[in-house]
Point group: C2
DNA sequence: GCAAATTTGTTCGTATGTATT
DNA sequence: CAATACATACGAACAAATTTG
């Protein structure tokens, strides 16, 4: 047996999908039917199907059937923006202009929380382990499709210095960078993004309606003030199946073209 | 049955792994033993194990057993470098200085090929569909661990204009950006990275020794000259389990700290 | 609104193959 | 070569979700 049966079947189905025999959005034969076609047990067919799911080619819907996935055109986010502006998403142009179709972004009102900072946040925010921080959570949608989950962390110190607006569960007009400049004289000189990818946790899986073997980007954005002190750490989770990123280096680059991705 | 048994078992094993009951590198009980412990069939145990594999927590070795994965500390690549320099990897400082330990990068001699450009390359390189391009392939290692697979595509036009060195299967001293400036007067003014994530194909799976449900970053770097014309498109594949990226925006940021990731 | 039919999801038992020690 | 451990494969039964009559 050169290759296991389930891999041979997966390979055959893959070629049929990519050649257009099964078109995007259409239904595949039922597991029982495929079992007849390939003279294999239902369990073996299911192993083949699992492989194709993990490749992102098909999806199963209990009670309905197995379908060829529709490729949504991805949302593209430009990470290199204005060093001094927010770019933490709260009222900022996090969304790129790449998409040809007009898209309708929306977001929830921030949910505010005071908590002990997780370890990976204390490191980035430069606060001692166990320090209290303000966390502002937001969910974002594009055309009503869940797009990103975002949490910004601020040192409690900023509150006592006068930036009490950070505790308000509402948007901050003009963005938090402007607000912090006014209230506590902090000038943001830039930020650093740290891009990682991993499996979604349960909450993320539910919110984005992802299969459990999907992948999300986790982008950690740390913003710095004039003293090179971290002002804010923003963690944004993006499902990898519907998100891409652009990094521009140098000036005067041509605009990115729709369809380049 | 609130949750399926295999998910309950996966959850229990996960907590034992994360609490240190099973330490990284150590072996888990055999599937049969776990079946006894949890009063479940071996197939159900295997379903739980598959979940933990897709989370990247454990790995199985036929004939040996199931082991808790060792977390390698990730390689961190800074994407925002010098707009005018190569940064395509050929002799450039693609490797960051974040790692505390001294690491030993190495790479293969470029393999050169002339071929019809894949569709996604023609779009980015701004050449007509079906155009011939020069492709330069390289494999990169860090401490002998496969780190990235890279292919740079150049328009054939550059060869006829005198940049014949692109056809040589050897490193280009000083980098290709400098070389192209000398030979054909092309000045690189910057580049754009397009970051995506997907499942590995068969070749990538083999080279990086990845499970078939792993994830890789695919970074498309397009370099532009003074006329905003694409000079080169470099596609680099990074396994997500051992790679992260940094994007710096603004000047005078503090150095990234080892351990921030 | 309900019941039946259809389809995928979970679980078990069993047998055999393949890789490693 | 034998023992051990994971990988593949089949058959069967029931559960859960969805659609249809």
């Amino acid at each position: 047996m050169a290759q296991p049966i389930y891999q041979q079947i997966a390979e055959d189905l893959r070629s049929k999908i990519e050649s257009g025999t099964y078109e995007p959005g259409t239904q595949l034969p039922t597991e029982s039917d495929l079992g007849e076609q390939y003279q294999a047990s239902r369990n073996t067919i299911r192993d083949a199907i699992k492989r194709l799911i993990s490749l992102g080619l098909i999806e199963t819907r209990p009670g309905q059937g197995t379908f060829v996935t529709l490729r949504v055109d991805p949302f593209v986010t430009v990470l290199t923006g204005d060093p001094k502006s927010d770019n933490d998403g709260e009222g900022a142009s996090y969304l790129s202009k790449v998409s040809a179709k007009q898209r309708e972004p929306s977001e929830t009102i921030p949910k505010v929380e005071v908590l002990m900072a997780p370890e990976e946040i204390t490191r980035r925010l430069g606060v001692p382990p166990g320090a209290q921080v303000v966390a502002r959570h937001q969910q974002r949608f594009i055309d009503d499709v869940p797009w990103s989950l975002q949490t910004s962390f601020y040192p409690m110190e900023l509150i006592s210095q006068g930036a009490t607006g950070l505790l308000m569960a509402q948007d901050i007009p003009g963005g938090t960078a402007t607000y912090l400049a006014e209230k506590v004289g902090l000038k943001q000189i830039g930020y650093r993004d740290w891009i990682t990818a991993r499996s979604p946790d349960n909450m993320e899986q539910q919110f984005f309606r992802l299969p459990h073997d999907a992948v999300v980007f986790a982008v950690f954005r740390t913003a710095y003030d004039q003293d090179k002190t971290p002002i804010r750490v923003t963690v944004t989770i993006f499902p990898a199946d519907r998100n891409q990123f652009i990094v521009n280096v140098g000036t005067d680059l041509p605009d990115p073209q729709y369809g380049d991705g």
